[in-house]
Amino acid sequence: MSITPKAVVLISGGLDSMLAAKVVLDQGVHVEGINFFTGFCVEGHTHAIRNQDHKKPKRNNALWVAEQLGIKLHIVDVIEQYKDVVINPKHGYGANLNPCLDCKSFMVRKAKEWIEAHGFDFIVTGEVIGQRPMSQRRDTMPVIAQESGADDRLLRPLCAKLLPETLPEREGWVNRDALYDFNGRSRKPQIALAEQFGIEDYAQPAGGCCFLTDEKYSDKLRDLWVSQGEKRYEIDDIMLLKVGRHLRPRPHFKLIIGRDDGENNYLKGYRHRFTYMYGTSHNGPLVLVEGQTNDSDLELAARITARFGQGRDADNVRIEVVEQTGDPRNFKVVPLTRNEMQEAWYI
């Protein structure tokens, strides 16, 4: 072991992992942070895309936390390896398509690989018993330690006193008496500890920091898998699920409709992969068409596109339709009325 014990902390950007890192730092441990980018992280993307979010801080919370703590942060791209976690979760999904238990085991396993490669001694997480219904329960926390292979090199400082002693405690790298016994869903102990540490600013993402915990997002991912006939995805697929309105007017095609200039600009980057359309007589959204379409489908899509533009009340609207092959075509269509828009189309 190194003379000064070294720990890597899983930094999400939220308060709990920040506190866990601070607790261990204050015990004289050399701490560095690690953050895994799965592609489903809520961080930043909607800020970068949507107009209405441009006023919000664009900071990456994991980086911000690391800077506040004065520690290095390693951000690791795990997009490819993470697919198996989402597609084949051994422990199943939570309320939506969130494979929280498999996810945590995966991340701790990746952290274990990292400490082995970099000569660190143990792993720290901000987990709290009872805080989350799937991955942070008294009976599932040992599963994470075991399945990740981290075993007793995994320390959860915020609830360590309620768990068996770990290697860092036995070896005296950290003092168990100075760890905590937080338990349950209440945030009060964490908020009190933050105050004690003088931490006033921290991110509090509602529903966590992962899109897979979001019902609407999960519906879109499920729809993607059904339309493909199998569970698989590429990074562009899951990024596009974060953007725009998604409507499936017919089983064989879907529309992605930009909601503002920011989203329209973002969708423009995908024009080379999709049939797309936009209004030429009136301002309106850029619309991507995913799936195989015939002229009747394109006319319906053009009428929907017109419905979401400024010509929705006009007698007719001109829509330019650009397919992957052939010249652009101009459709003159009557916008769908509010009553003609079917609720079931919205994914």
Binding site: F37, C41, G44, H47, A48, K58, R59, N60, K72, L73
Partner: protein, 75 residues
């Protein structure tokens, strides 16, 4: 000391930071890396990443929806 360029355009946060981090790992202390991005978050995130990892931002430019962050690799 050598000058390098990294194309991180059309990538959203945190990918420009990840690409920067991976590229810097291959460079020597004192090397200059010029990162081209389109995500405005890079203007905040790359300098933060530099501060916490001991590198120095020596310039930022913004023109035609493109952001260029230039850093000097630390020791």
């Amino acid at each position: 000391m050598s000058h390098h360029k990294l194309d991180a355009t059309n990538l959203l946060c945190p990918m420009p930071v990840i690409r920067t981090q991976d590229r810097v790992a291959e460079l020597a202390s004192g090397d200059i890396l010029e990162i081209h991005c389109t995500d405005p978050g890079a203007l905040h995130d790359i300098p933060t990443w530099c501060r916490i990892n001991g590198h120095r931002v020596v310039g930022t430019q913004q023109a035609n929806n493109e952001i260029i962050v230039t850093l000097r690799v630390g020791s």
